[in-house]
Each structure stands twice: as structure tokens, then as C-alpha cells.
Amino acid sequence: MTAAPPTNRIGLTLNDYKGAPSTLCDGCGHDAITAQIIKAFYELGTEPHMVAKLSGIGCSSKTPAYFLNRSHGFNSVHGRMPSVATGVSMANHTLTMIGVSGDGDTASIGLGQFCHLVRRNVPMIYIIENNGVYGLTKGQFSATADLGSKAKSGVMNELPPIDLCGLAIELGCSFVGRSFAGDPKQLVALLKAAGSHQGTAVIDVISPCVTFNNHEGSTKSYKYAKEMETPLHELGYVPFFEQISVDYEPGSVQEVEMHDGSKIRLKKTDRDYDPTDEINAIVTIKKAHANKEFLTGLLYINENKEDFTTIMNVGDAALATLPESITRPPKSALDEIMAELM
């Protein structure tokens, strides 16, 4: 007799958070991210039926089929998952939303929608699985490919990259992280923290394409990312339902308290990085580009920004399921309007 598998705080097993088997290439960075998404939601103990998972088009956008089988999924059109997410959020703000996009989906065709999602601060986790190439169409450069990065065909990229984290901060994003598919510990902590955030949480994850962008000369390969990754801090997440207190040397840990009472614990490195300082975050990203550094961690967080649900002044219940008694004004209302038009 085998032992019953472990369960989380709502009595579900890790399997209950899994999806269909992945059809991506063996070793794809995206699958590593999918595994951490499954783990994060399992460990958070989120009710799967209260999650909506969304995506655009591309290899990355296929992945919502590979996690959270018990959640409704919406694989939308290329670059336009943000608008769908905005509509879903307005219809039912009680859902937890996770969107998965790629660098082509977000930085090119979907750049406009991404900007406006961030500007509105629509509450959701927005993951960019960033590999610098278009995988499904066989390896063209994307807009996040670094200047001078070499394609598999040997062509050099001649245009500067769009830094989606820098852009998100510029647009007022209240949670911006960067991670690496090969750093599961940091990634799962970031994902969980993003789940506690009230607003758009953008996580740009370097996720190597093993088929089209994992060669020598690529700046988005496993080898390059592993060698170059420089964490800004050691990231820990303590959920509200598990208050653990650990004694740290004074000044060595920065704690950020989130809306739901969860805490992000940032153990400082010699960089002494403060993710609540917006200007410093922008400067750090700019300098990292100049110095060809690959910095990961929580780049910026602001827990005091109103999310779109608050701005739109909707009530506690989801608009989607309001009864007719609330959504259809009485006959007296029509009579009043008609009288004014006579």
C-alpha cells in the first residue's frame, strides 16, 4: 500500500494543479516555468476553480493547457490577451488571473495592449516567457533579442531590445520581477508573491528555446543565463497562513508586507537593492544593459497603488452573476426617462 500523496491547506494534491502533458520541445524553458506555476498555486492553496488562466499565441501561450486543469482557460489571439484579461477581470474580479505570454506576443504585436494593461493596473499575474525568438515560426528574432545576439542561422540582431521590466516600471507597474527558468527557487517565490499582489504583477522570465536559441552567441541560452545570472537578493515568500518568524541579522533582510498579509522577505546581497525605490529600479535596469548584466529578482514593488477593480468602483460581487433585480432598472426608471423626452 502506497502512502496517500501530500495535500495542501485545502486538501488538494499537487496533481490536482497539473494540466495536460506538454507538447513543447524536450528541455524547453517554458516547461520549467509551468512546473513552478503548478507548485506555486499548490503551495498557496488556491482554489483552482477560482483561477482563470489566459494567454495569447505562441509556444508560451500554449502552456496554460499544461497547468491547472480545473481552471477555466482562454487561449486568445496573438498579442491581445491583455484586453481579454481586462474584460474577464471586470466581469468577475473575484477570480485570480494568470496570464502567460511570450516575447513576441508581448513585445511586438501585443506591446500596446501590454502597456495599457499595466497602465490600468488590472489585477493579474502576467508572465512573459522570454526566449528572444519566435519558436513556432522557426527562429526569427523577437523584439527582446539583445543587440549583437546571434541567431541559429548566424545572423546578428541589429536592433536594440525592448526591456519589458523597464517599460512596465515606466508605465507605473506595481510589481515587476525578472527571473530565469533555470532558477526554480527564486521563480516560485516570485510567483507566489505575485499571487498576493493586488494589481498587475509582471514577471519576465528568461526561458531558453532549446531548438532555436540555445547556441553559442545567443544571450538567451541556458549556458549564457546560468553564467550571467546575478540575483539582486535572496527572495523568500511567507504566506499569510504560515506566519514564521526567523531571526535575521539586523539590516540584512528587507520585508515587504502584501495586501493579504503575506510577506516578501528579501535577504540582501552586497548590492543592498531596495525594490521599493522606483528611480533606483530604472537606473539599475539601465546600468545592467550597459554592463551586459543579467539581474534577477524583485525589481520593483509598490503595494499602495489602486488596482483597476478599485478604480472602477464595482461592488464585492462579480458583475457576471448579478441578478436581474440589480442589472435591470425598474419600469419607473423607463417611465421617468420617457417623460423627459416628451
Binding site: 489566459l54 482557460g73 491583455p82 484586453s83 474584460g87 468577475n92 495592449q113 423607463l334
Partner: protein, 607 residues
Amino acid sequence: MNTLAEGSKEKLEQGRVVNDFSIQVATVNGSGSQSSNSVLMRSIFQMGIPVSGKNLFPSNIAGLPTWFTIRVNKDGYIARKAETEILIAMNPQTAIEDVKSLSSGAVCISPVELRLEAIRTDVLHYQVPFSELAAKASENMKLRKLLTNMLYVGIVAELLNIDHAQIETSIAKQFEGKTKAIDLNLNAVKIGRDWARENLKKQDPYAVEPMNKTQGKIIIDGNAAAALGSLFAGVTVVTWYPITPSSSLCEQLIDYLKDYRIEKESGKASFAVIQAEDELAAIGMALGAGWAGARSMTSTSGPGISLMAEFTGYGYFTEIPVVIFDVQRVGPSTGLPTRTSQADLISAHTLSHGDTKHIVLLPGSVAECYEMAGDAFELAEKFQTPIFVLTDLDLGMNNWMSDPFVYPTKPINRGKVMTAADIDKAGKFERYRDVDGDGIPYRTLPGTDHPQAAYFTRGSGHNEKAGYTEKPEDYVNLMDRLEKKFQTARAFVPPSVVSLEKFAIIGLIAYGSSDFAVEEARDQLKVANIATSYLRIKALPFTDELRKFVEGHDHVYVIEQNRDAQMRDLIRLELPDLAMKIRSVKHYDGLPIDARFVTDAIMEQER
């Protein structure tokens, strides 16, 4: 101050023309003439006389010519009429052309300094010292310009004998609660009226006399009517991007939602209106909201429809309810943004790449803009698909007289949505299976607490369980079911309105705002001994009446406002065996179609 041309004497001798003429006011846009024109129109309306108003305006904020036409018609015809009997030529830029366009014997009211009498001697001129009178109305230069418009209201009121009491009521309504504005404007009307009484000798035949044909009626534009229909349909998520001529639909909806859909105690809204970054996002948001269970809508015009193509195809293929209002303007491209058209019919009906057919509703009046907005939300959820409501600039932005709207008689029906209990009862849930044989599957909403409730929505190939598939038989199965669903819709969309005339061998077919002109043209044709039956189409797919109607007549004319005879072509595709019986009358210059045009076009072909 007035000159009478030789040629117009004859007209005067014919006697008075009561409650049957058109007044055209030519001004510059941004000059504030809109309030005066509304007051003029409303005052006549309040005297019980049927009126209709049309604003012909440029795509511009200020400084370009604009024309407002008020048609006064005792018989209740409210279509555009091409001829003008009374011109108020306030715009020096266009005055010469405006006067030239008048028929002999028409009336022209103009500022004295324009000296228009020299241009047309066969027109009756009333020349008015507007600047002098405006100086009396106010010391403020800026106000003088605005009040000049009220001066012509006074002059016309005196000439036509419009009740002063009605003008007072209309001004009070126009400037609701703003005592100072009411007084200033009333005074300007009085100055105009007094001057006209003392200085003009009435020499034209036109006059108004009270009737009782407007009692209990309302005046409203089609965009406000569609907004009201949406409000009472229980819309919860509204997404839009500003575009002429549809902007005022969502803007007026916002006002109504604020008045009637904010909970008093909590101050919380039972709706969300999002001004999107573009039409691509507007339809994406509306689809997302529809998918999550909201009654959602967007409103746009031609260029927005083009941008919405990909997402609309997604909505059709994945079966998501959403309502799309298209207030049509003249295309293609930017086209004539402030002119009317019915040329989006085929593009809306088949919007998207791939085999796609959408349900389209075609309101023919403001009352139907209201009713069909309600129908659209019901149909969208019943059929789980995007529903188009095609109006146009003429219907949407002009003021129309109508019977008051009727409160919905049926409760809101959210369609085939399964709850957790429903899934338990049925034992299973498969998103895209045709359980009932009508082509309409069942759906669940995100947040449904059941391990089998979730499904994955994808624009790629999907089987009955919403799983990914590229199998030929799965694709055919899906496409055939979508076709079946479309066929089911024939019995649920609003049926055509049929008016059969005994012994008529000619049938007329029209839709949307062409109705007003067609109704009037039928009477004109009758006078010419041409009896016609009439079928007005209210929706696509076509309903059963169409075939019978075409079969029952020797030949039919499809009257519409586009170059390519789009509806005629759709009917020919629908009834290929009857295609040769179907002729066309097309009006596509951007102005609303008028009865005389229809009558002439038919007489020409009947000769």
C-alpha cells in the same frame, strides 16, 4: 427689408402651405446653432405637428459649414426630403451655393449684408440686420454670436406663427435649470420676433398650425435609444473606443448607467465602462467579459469593425456572447466620417477570415434601436456568439419622433449556462457537444465550483470536449454544428415586417433607416398608380417570409444605401432560383435616402 421675385408671386397665389415644408439652417459648426435648431424643432413638435431633424455636419470641430434640416410634415413623413422651402442662410462661406440650390419660389432668410437677393431673384428674400439685433441682445461679443442663432428662431417663429409659449417651454428644456441662459435666449427670440413683426411683410405661403399628432410621443436619437435598450437589457460590461458616429451611444449609456445603476447605499456600480486603447482592445475586453459571464457590449463604426475582425471570428469559433453595435458611416477607409451609409452589411455579417456568419439585427427606427439592443443581448447569450446591431449615422445621431419605448416583458434569459448542480445532475459537461440538437452547446462560467466545470477556450481546432484537435472529422463536425446553430437562429431573430398590397405585382424590400423613405415612396408611387407591397428585413439570417414574398411578386426592388447592392446580393444568394426577379435601388452619396429618389428610381425602371 424683403424683396419678392417675380416668379414667386404665382406660388403665393396658390394659397397657404400649412405644416408641410422643410427648413434648412446653414451655419458654421461650433457656432452654437445646435441649441437654436433643437428649440425650433421642439417648439413645432410641441404644437402637435410631426417633425424630424437632420444634422449634416463636417468632420471638424469648428469653422466648417454645417446644415440642419427640420422637416415639418402633417402626414407624419419623417424621411429626408431633398428640397428646402425655407433657407436660413447664416453662413457666408456657403450662402451663395445654398441660395443657388433653392427651387424657384423658396424662401431665404439671411443677414442683410450678404446681399443674397442679387443672386436669386426668383426666391423670396427676408433680409435681417442680425448684427444690429445681436448688439441689442447682449453687450458681450461672444454671447452675441451665440444669440444670433436665437434671433433667427424668433424671426422664423413670427413668420411661421409658432406659439411663443412652446418656444418658452423648449428653451426651458434646452437650458435645464440655467435661469440666466434661459432669460438671455428668450430675450433674443423676442428681439427677433418683434423685429420681424415690425419690419417684415409676410409674403410666403408657409405656416404652422397646431395639430394633435405628437401627443405622448418622444424625440430621441438612435444612439440614445440603443443605449437605453442596453441599460434595460442589464448590460454589465461596456467597452468602447471613440469614433464618429457611434461615440454618443456609449457616452449616453454612461450617463444612464450613472443615474440608474449605482447602488444608493454602497455607492458601488453594477457595471463597468472601459474606454479602450483601440477597437482591437475594445472587442477583446468585451469578449473576455462575455466569456466570464457578463452581458457585454462594444460600439463602433466601420473602421472599428475592420479592426475587430480577428477577435469577432474568435468569438464565433469559440462561441462567446457579445453585442457589437455598428453605427455605420461612409467607407471604405476613413471615408466620409460624418455621412450615413448601409455599406457594412456584408462585412459585418461575415466578419473574420475563414467561414464565418454572424447574426445581424437591422433596426429601422429609434424604437427598434431600443428593442433590438435588448434582443441582441438575449440572442448573444442564447446562441453564445457575437451579435451585430447595424444602425447608421442617420438613425444614430439624428433626432426622431417616436412612440415611447416599452418596458421589457420577459425576464432576462442567460442561455445555456450550467451550474455545479447542473453538472452533477447531467453527470458530465462537454463544452462543445450538441446535446439538444439545436447546435447550441452548454457552457460554464469561470468560478463554477465543480472539478469538471473547467474547459479550455482556444481559437485553434477543438473537439466537443474543447480539447485541441487537427483531425479533419473534428473540424467538419464543429463547422457543421456552427452552421446548424446559425440555421436555428432563423426562428429566433426578429421576423421581417410584411405589408401586402392587393393586386401589387411589384415588391419593395428595404432595411434599417431606408424604411422612412420607402414608406413615403410607396404613397408617392400609389399616386402614380403603381401599387407596391413591402417587406422590411429586420435581421440576418433571413426569416421564412422572404421567399414567399419574392415568389408572390413579379419582381422586387431591394432599396438600400450602398453602392454594391449588398442586401440584393445576399438575397440572390439566399434565393438563387429567384435571382432574376430581384432588382436594385441604390443610394450612396452619404446623405440619407429620400422618398423622391426611391420613387424616381422605380418609375424609371418601370417605364
